[in-house]
Structure formats: C-alpha cells, structure tokens
Symmetry: C2
Subunit: 334 residues, 2 copies
Amino acid sequence: MTNQDIFQLRLASYPEGLPNNEHFERTHDALPEVKDGEISFETTWISIDPAMKGWVTQKRSYMPPVAIGEAMRAFGVAKVTESKHPKIQVGDWITGMLGVQSAGVLDARLVRKIDTSFAPPEKYLGGLGMTGYTAYFGLFDVAKPEPGQTVVVSAAAGAVGSVASQLAKMHGCKVIGIAGGLEKCNYLKQTLKLHGTIDYKNQNVAEQLDKLAPQGIDVYFDNVGGQILDDVLMRINPHARIAVCGAVSQYENLDNMIGPKNYMQIITQSAIMQGFTMKDYIRRIPEAFTKLYNLEHKGELILRDHIIEGIDNFTEGLRMIYAGENQGKLLLKL
Amino acid sequence: MTNQDIFQLRLASYPEGLPNNEHFERTHDALPEVKDGEISFETTWISIDPAMKGWVTQKRSYMPPVAIGEAMRAFGVAKVTESKHPKIQVGDWITGMLGVQSAGVLDARLVRKIDTSFAPPEKYLGGLGMTGYTAYFGLFDVAKPEPGQTVVVSAAAGAVGSVASQLAKMHGCKVIGIAGGLEKCNYLKQTLKLHGTIDYKNQNVAEQLDKLAPQGIDVYFDNVGGQILDDVLMRINPHARIAVCGAVSQYENLDNMIGPKNYMQIITQSAIMQGFTMKDYIRRIPEAFTKLYNLEHKGELILRDHIIEGIDNFTEGLRMIYAGENQGKLLLKL
C-alpha cells in the first residue's frame, strides 16, 4: 500500500439487526487529489463503538445515517501525508471521524490535531478520547453523583463504563459495576477495585442489587437498557439520576425496542432520566482531556485496550462489541 | 346521618386491573372519640384522582399502599366538628388526605386549614388545590418551558392537564393539547384557546403532531404514557424536557406496563425525562396557591369541575376517570 492507495469499507445496505460483513463492501481506489483547505492522511487506528449501530440505521438519531456507498463512519487517528491547510503540517497526528479507511482526504476543519508527546495516538480514541470524554461528561454533567452516594454502572468493564466507574469511585461514591462474565468482574474487582460487581450472565441482577445496594441506588450510568435498566429502576432512591448513555441490549432490533417498563418509578421517586451525546460537549473537550490525562499519568485511571488488526477485521470487531467479547476499549489497528 | 355516624369505603382487596366496587366495602360505624391533638370533621367534597390506582397497588410507589380494611385514601375538604388542637376551631374548613368517608377523626397535624373567603372549599381540591399545584410545579419546576417553545400536554382537558396547558400558554408557549373526544377538544380550542388540539380517539396522533408541531416538540407534560409518549418522543427537539406526571394509559396493568420503546430518543436528543410528585413541593404550596388564585380571580385561569354525588358513586367516579369520561376536575360531593 502506498499513500496513493485507499482501502475502504463502504456501507452496502442498512442492516435490520446488527451490521455484519454482508452490509459492507471492501473497495480499493486511488486517493483523491487534495484540494485547498484539505488534508490527506494515513489511518493508523480506528475506534469500534457500540454507537455504530445507530449510525447505520435510518431511524431518527442525533446525526444522519451513513449513506449507502459511503465509507463507514468511525473515529480514528491518523498521520497527515499532505496538507493544503495552513494550520496542519505533514507528519502531524490528527483525530476525528476519519471513517473505516486506510487513508483519506478530508476538509481540515473536520479533524483535530493531537499531541502524541502526551500519550500514544491510540489513547486519543480510548480513555483520553471520545470514550473518556463520554464517561467524564456523562458522569459529572448528567449523572452528577455526590460523594457517598451509590452509583451503578452497566457495561462497567467496557470502554466508557470502566472510565465512568473509576471516576465515580475517585469522586467518593460507592460503585457497583455490572458486566458479563467472570473475567470482566474479576477485572472490575481486582484491578479497578470497585466496591461491588455483578456478573449479569451468571447472576440474578435484581437479587445482587438488593444485596450490594440495600440502601438503594442514587445514580445509574446506563449503557445497556433492557432488563437491567428495569431492575435498577425498581431500586432507585428518591431524586435518583439516570444517565442514559446507551442501550446496547436493544441494538439488535432498533425498530422494535423494549422500553423500560418500570419507568413509572421515575415519577414515584422524583427521578430523572437524561440522555446525552458528545455533541453538547465538544467545546469542553480540553477540560476532560486535561483531567483524564492527569489521572492516567498519575496511574489513578486505568485504561485497557483490546486491539484487533486489519480493516478486514472491522466487522468481526463489531460482532465482538455487541456480543460483549471485548476486554476494554476495542481498537482496530491498520 | 349525624356527626356521630361515619360511612366509609374501605379497601377490601388489591385490584389486579382498575379498582371497582368489588374491591371496596361500605361500612357504617360510630365516630371514634376525639383525643388530644385530634380533630373530627364532616367531609363535604372528595377528590377523585388518577393517582388512586397507585395507592391500591402493592407495587413500589411513593407511599405505602392503603391497607386492607382501611378507608380508601383520598384528598378531601371538610368542616371541623370537634377539635382538641389549639390551632383549629370547630367550624374551620380543612383539607388533606381525609379518606373516602363521610366523617372522620385525624391527628390535626395531618390537615391544613383553608380560607373559604378566597374560594369555595371544593376549589381547594381542584385548580387551587393539589391538582393545580401539580400542574404548576410540574410545568415550571420540572418541564421548564421557555416562552416561544412548543409544549404538548396529554390529558389536556383533565384536571391537571388543563391547568398545565393554560399556564404554559400564559407563559408564552405554543401549546398543543391532546384529549379524547370532540367535546374535550372543542373545550381546549374554544374555551382554553390552545394553539392546537389532537383528539387521540379519532385522529392519528403522530400525523397531527407532525402537522401542528412541524418545528418539533420542546416540552411534553405527560399524563398518559403509552403510544402517545412514544409518538411524542419521536418528535422531540434537542434538549427537550418531558415532565412525567402520570401514565394513565398503563394503569390497567401496573404489573405489566409497557415502557416507552422510543426512549432512545432521549439520548439522541440529549433530552430529559423527569418524574415528580407533590411530596417535594409541600413547603411551596403557598407560592402556587397565590399564583393560581390570582390568575383564577382575574379570569385568566379557567377551572372546570365535574361533580358527582354520594359516597356510593365513588367507584363509578373511578371508572369515569380511567375511561376519561370526566369533563374537568372530578369531585365527589357528600
């Protein structure tokens, strides 16, 4: 592959359930010419995120879906190979919605320079990137736990969940992490040192919540929706806050999702369910980066990456993330 | 009936679906003796509220359920017939959770004196009472619409909904009221002069929302839940606020409610769903009363009562309220 080649994974059709190989087409073209204001880049890392299902649905969402024939949308980090924008130089590292492609040409205003002297480039996709920022703003601006409160996090061993769990713990909260499988729960207990863990694949979540949070739940950082959300709702305290970050248990059938049947508890407990996306926090990224970087640098924030390689493994990565098979932030190395 | 007699409707069993005659027992006893700190009273009006279903369910709620054998819980207004409390005199008017009973004895601290020189006693159960306060705090403290925003209110011809609709309109919002049947919609249009109305029994709510709120919905004051909540969710604007006041469409089967399947829209639109009960606002009742009283006195707030008579008609009133047959605040006159 030279700089002049571009391998892409293009959306071929909108999936009904979860996206897989049949919904993408692998293409190989020459890199387009770089025009004024544009840059070309060579991608080194691509982020695989649960949100991707939402990007390939025609259901109403926070941004238009990827168009058929367009490279699949993805966050990535890349090295600039040519620049016709005064503020970006060849050799600079950038991040943004670079797409599932080995290289590309983009309007320079759509990317953000990153400083790899702070951290290796792939960290800007994980705990020091959108993943970390999502956890940071979701926890402190939406969930707003107070020290001493009981915080439950679902998909707690996942990319966002593990950062949210650790931040809540550092904030002085009692943190209960829900994850699937013994390995993840051991990680939460032994490495992240959460106060309690629930293995939803092998334990009764409702019973364990009663046991681990007999005093009720003040804050829930929800990545999964479904039955676990209902189990939590039945145990929230007055004025509980639920930050709705995702509903990965429901992504298989976005057109026929199951809503939280216990949502009346938000009336009886004067509680709040609040959704959020990073759209509202773009201007505050420097604040989140600085906090997360400092914590990680001091060894107080533990970030775990799960790396797979090669553009042809992108759909396998998607499968893994919806099956909950990744151990930490799932990254595709090119 | 003398002051010494007390007719009660006592809870006989917890209903699976909606409560009806078979779940209550009508009793006739002598009034108990009034002890120190207590008062006796003769009830003149009883409020019939959608919340009553929640008071006779053993499902987790904001207060314990009515016990079997206990007089059915209800707000009422009454005249004091005997007092052993220094701050309450015989002849005073009081309100509180007086129960479905013709007379009673209560700890004086559980009731609140009302001033019938401001308004007739029954108004303290409707627009100038809990009903009005619920609309007031739900709108201004929970839904928080801004002037110029589009506000949708369900059960808009109901006791709470009609006050919330009018307050939102006076606040400078564009108000769309949803109600069942032509009579109610005409009332909303011609008497309350809302900007738009939708008859959910005879119109397609989703289509009408598209037509009446092409610019999207900023605030939803929800009394009904169910499909209408889902229709609204698909049309909320970024940072929309949903005040969850009730879910009367789901009260028939509290144990198997249907949650809002489109709740993911609160993520994509960074929206808030917030529940509330009057529990949090008890100390601010004077504020709400003063505002509502002044508006009603100036003729700016229109309150409509639907009066039925006699304790034996209580369950018929319950049936009416869940069937949406009442036109305005449903009151039982004794």
